[in-house]
């Protein structure tokens, strides 16, 4: 069981995290914007997360925390 937490205010929508998730569950939340005007990244099927933290490791804005 693992969980990723996005600090959506820090996210700049760069999409890097979406390219490294081995489970392909990180996507951009096209439906919302943070106060800087970016669509934040998010995870759709959290239960598939293996807590590998790849997404967090590539995030340039340290917007992701991972729990396991």
């Amino acid at each position: 069981m693992a969980r990723v937490i996005f600090d959506e205010e820090r996210c700049k929508g760069c999409e890097l995290c979406t390219t490294v998730c081995p489970k392909g569950i990180v996507v951009m939340a096209r439906d919302r914007m943070n106060s800087k005007g970016y669509h934040p990244a998010t995870v759709i099927e959290m239960d598939k997360c293996i807590g590998c933290a790849f997404c967090a490791r590539i995030c340039p804005d340290v917007a992701i925390e991972v729990e396991k």
Partner: protein, 245 residues
């Protein structure tokens, strides 16, 4: 559940001002993680450059000095000589380190100055809007090489790590990249080793990190990582350039 990945303590809470997807942020975090893991934050003093990382003093959660453009190694030397038991590092871009600061980095290296240098090679001047850096690739278009870098006029990309590795005062130099997780992990190990080299009093250590500038390269962050891998690595081979055991 326990946190398996969280913000390192050696970063302040302040959000980075970098452009979306700019890998300066990744390297900041790696440096902070290394400092955390070695538990040296309280005795670390960082030197920020002039470049996009100019505000690094707002992010690294340790005492910091902001250096003049290119002079970080000289500033670090001043600090280290006064406080030899502190850990001193510089964080510099390729304009800063490989152009205006050439003399300072060469001589800090040849003096064997016991400092650690984090060198961000993004093949461009980010902060000033995308001029040619000494590390700009041949043919690369920048605002000051509008027709692509022509080595006959603007010279060749400079391989600082290889050049500095010829110097006796150097204890450790490695070139790394951050274009994927594997390389990010390798970069992290290199950065940590550089600090360890300093802690062991071995002399000058430097990690050159190939990095992206999506904004001035005119690419998305994802494209930029690919461009880095395909174009920069062939010109700037990764690996340890010198290591004194």
């Amino acid at each position: 559940m326990t946190k398996v990945f969280t913000r390192p303590k050696s970063l302040t809470d302040k959000p980075f001002h970098y452009c979306p997807g700019c890998t300066h942020g990744i390297v900041h975090r790696l440096v902070a993680e290394a400092i955390d893991e070695l538990d040296i934050r309280e005795r670390t003093i960082g030197v920020a450059p002039v470049g996009c990382a100019v505000f690094a003093y707002e992010y690294f959660n340790c005492d910091m000095q902001e250096a003049a453009h290119g002079r970080a190694p000289a500033v670090a030397t001043g600090i280290k000589r006064v406080l030899p038991d502190r850990v001193v590092f510089t964080y510099q871009g390729d304009g800063d380190l490989a152009a205006i600061g050439t003399a300072e980095i060469v001589h800090a290296a040849t003096r064997g100055e016991n400092i650690t240098v984090i060198f961000i090679n993004n093949a461009i001047y980010g902060m000033t809007g995308g001029q040619m850096a000494p590390t700009t690739l041949i043919g690369q278009v920048t605002t000051t090489t509008p027709y692509g870098r022509d080595p006959g006029k603007a010279g060749y990309p400079i391989r600082m790590s290889e050049m500095l590795a010829t110097l006796e005062g150097v204890a450790y130099i490695e070139r790394v990249s951050i274009h994927d997780i594997k390389h990010i992990n390798q970069a992290k190990r290199a950065i940590k080793k550089a600090f360890e080299t300093q802690l062991a009093g071995k002399g000058f250590s430097m990690v050159e990190v190939l990095s992206t500038c999506p904004t001035n390269w005119g690419m998305t962050p994802v494209e930029a990582l690919k461009w880095l891998e395909r174009n920069m690595i062939p010109c700037y081979p990764l690996g340890v350039k010198k290591e004194v055991k």
